[in-house]
């Protein structure tokens, strides 16, 4: 039929991947070593930065996909984080003896159901939130901002009604307290767990997005939802599924964040939303890979700058965002839109 040599503008046969943004992470880690000075402090800060970044990634990944798929600006995402944190805290407090036990298995038996309950309730809340609050304002960005922001405020007040206005104090179980000591380097056990959970979520998302049909449809829908519809798939159903999974992941992130901070307040979600928005903007709206790299950069910069120049730590991530957008105005991994 056609000849393989026929081509109007022959590009390379070998697929090229854009790895420049990915290289920013090791570059930042290496550059910070002489600045920090002490290798022990540098390693501790690096692990802390990666842990913080991966927890933010877990919370942000669903939000970037929902924006990419349906152009929905969901400022209420913080509500799912907060609900996840409160539910996990309640379950863990109810399992006090197991949480306080010196047995690793009893500790895990208390934390695992807490995390699962947080994900289940946040996912269910996400489904209701999408049906009642987001669905009526598809395609209307201003209304989306107003109504989802309102949803977040209402959710925060409802959390206070159910759990009371005071903050809840959590204590990590003994298995997740303390640090691994390697030479003169101390690496907190909980941060290692957070890195592991974040990496598992990232790898699982990548596998689903690249190896399953639903994952391919999600990625295709992020690029051109109209074309996915024309090829026979109802993108809104896909969107609802992504919204629920994204909410459940926010619940998981909230549970991780609660254990990280060891306190839970109704504003826990709203507080972390600033970092989440920075991450998804840096990454490129709709890009999971970009969200991953952006989260690592934000976590590392926050920790390095917090150590080197505490007074500018607050604005360091805003500066990071500005620099990256000057380099790549659409974010690290721009997602093509129709």
């Amino acid at each position: 039929m056609t000849d393989a040599s026929i081509t109007d503008n022959p590009p390379p046969v070998q697929a090229r991947r854009d790895i420049a943004p990915l290289l920013l992470v090791p570059a930042l880690v290496i550059v910070s070593l002489p600045l920090v000075g002490s290798p022990a402090s540098w390693l501790t800060l690096t692990v802390a930065g990666l842990a913080m970044g991966l927890m933010i990634f877990v919370m942000a990944s669903g939000l970037t996909l929902t924006f990419g798929l349906m152009d929905v600006l969901n400022f209420g995402h913080g509500a799912f984080i907060a609900v996840g944190a409160f539910v996990a805290a309640s379950v863990m407090l109810a399992m006090g003896p197991w949480m306080a036990s010196d047995s690793l298995w009893l500790n895990l038996a208390a934390v695992a159901p807490a995390v699962l309950a947080a994900m289940a309730l946040s996912g269910a809340l996400g489904w209701g939130f999408e049906r009642v609050i987001v669905k009526p304002v598809y395609g209307q960005h201003l209304k989306q901002i107003l109504v989802t922001m309102g949803g977040l405020i209402v959710a925060e007040q409802l959390l206070k009604v159910v759990w009371g206005p005071d903050q809840i104090t959590l204590t990590r179980p003994p298995a997740l307290r303390g640090a691994f000591i390697i030479g003169d380097v101390a690496i907190e056990k909980y941060r290692v767990l957070a890195v592991a959970v974040g990496l598992v979520v990232f790898v699982a998302m990548q596998l689903v997005l690249s190896r399953t049909r639903i994952g391919l449809l999600v990625r295709a829908g992020v690029e051109n939802s109209e074309m996915v519809e024309a090829l026979g798939y109802r993108i809104r159903r896909v969107f609802v599924g992504v919204f629920v999974v994204g909410s459940a992941l926010a619940g998981l992130g909230g549970a991780l964040w609660a254990l990280y901070q060891e306190t839970v307040t109704a504003a826990i979600g709203a507080q972390v939303m600033v970092l989440i928005f920075i991450v998804i903007i840096i990454g490129g709206l709709g890009s999971v890979g970009g969200c991953f790299v952006g989260a690592l950069l934000v976590g590392l910069v926050a920790n390095y700058v917090g150590f080197l120049a505490p007074k500018v730590a607050l604005g360091s991530n805003i500066l990071l965002m500005a620099l990256i957008l000057l380099w790549r105005p659409q974010g690290l991994y721009p997602v093509a839109k129709r």
Binding site: M1, T2, D3, A4, I6, T7, D8, N9, P10, P11, P12, V13, A15, R16, S210, R213, L216, L217, R219, A220, E223, N224, E226, M227, E229, A230, L231, G232, Y233, R234, I235, V335, A336, R338
Partner: protein
């Protein structure tokens, strides 16, 4: 032979601007038809209505024997419309393989369905590009990918909007060869393109649109013979 597509008195537009004024169009099963006209005459608007991407303001569309009514583009896609849109609209950050397999479906349990292998037989250049991103393909390869993607949905009607627009002559030729091969399989095809000499060799029936209205309908022999028609409506 039953009609795959029946359009009666179709009106449509964008906002206050009406583009189509009562279009009638029929495509029978296994038939190849064309939609012709100068730029801005309503060809793409007609295609968008057929594909469910634009709600008509009047008239009716029946596809595969069923009234489309208020059904969305996803229903029409599942009912068997294979769309190759203007500008190709391949997914640039998906690999060629992913662009193809994501939409492979045999919803009507067609005997001898389209498979990845059949598509690669039809378009051998894609076989060397399976691992490349859509954005890394040339224009001609993107068009092959867009056609292959539509074929893998096992359509009853393939609609190509600007089938060879912007392609180099050799690539254009490859697309025409593929369309001849598809025609021979008995697949109904609606083609929009500007190469009338090639279209008359493929299609049975031609419809010319002029300012949103059907200006002429006829067979290939009549169209090929009437050069005045070309000059008046097609700017050739």
């Amino acid at each position: 032979m039953s009609d795959v597509l029946e359009i009666d008195n179709l009106s449509a537009g964008y906002g206050a601007g009406q583009v189509l004024f009562g279009i009638d169009l029929r495509i029978a099963a296994g038939e190849a038809a064309t939609l012709l006209g100068r730029n801005g005459m309503g060809k793409t608007t007609t295609v968008r209505c057929i594909a469910g991407l634009l709600r008509p303001t009047g008239g009716t569309i029946r596809f595969a024997g069923e009234a489309v009514g208020q059904r969305g583009a996803d229903w029409i896609g599942r009912a068997g419309l294979g769309l190759v849109p203007e500008g190709r609209r391949i997914f640039p950050n998906l690999t060629v393989r992913e662009n193809l397999v994501a939409f492979a479906a045999n919803r009507r349990a067609v005997a001898g369905p389209w498979t990845l292998e059949r598509v690669l037989d039809l378009f051998p250049p894609l076989a060397n590009r399976l691992g490349n991103l859509g954005s890394q393909l040339s224009g001609g390869e993107q068009q092959m990918l867009a056609i292959g993607r539509a074929l893998l949905t096992n359509p009853v009607l393939l609609v190509l909007d600007e089938a060879t627009e912007g392609l180099a002559p050799l690539l254009r030729e490859a697309i025409w060869c593929a369309l001849h091969a598809l025609r021979a399989t008995g697949l109904a095809i609606l083609i929009i393109d500007k190469h009338i000499d090639r279209l008359t060799g493929i299609a049975d029936r031609h419809t010319i649109l002029d300012r949103g209205r059907v200006a002429w309908t006829g067979g290939s022999a009549e169209l090929a013979a009437d050069r005045a028609l070309w000059e008046r409506y097609l700017g050739v």
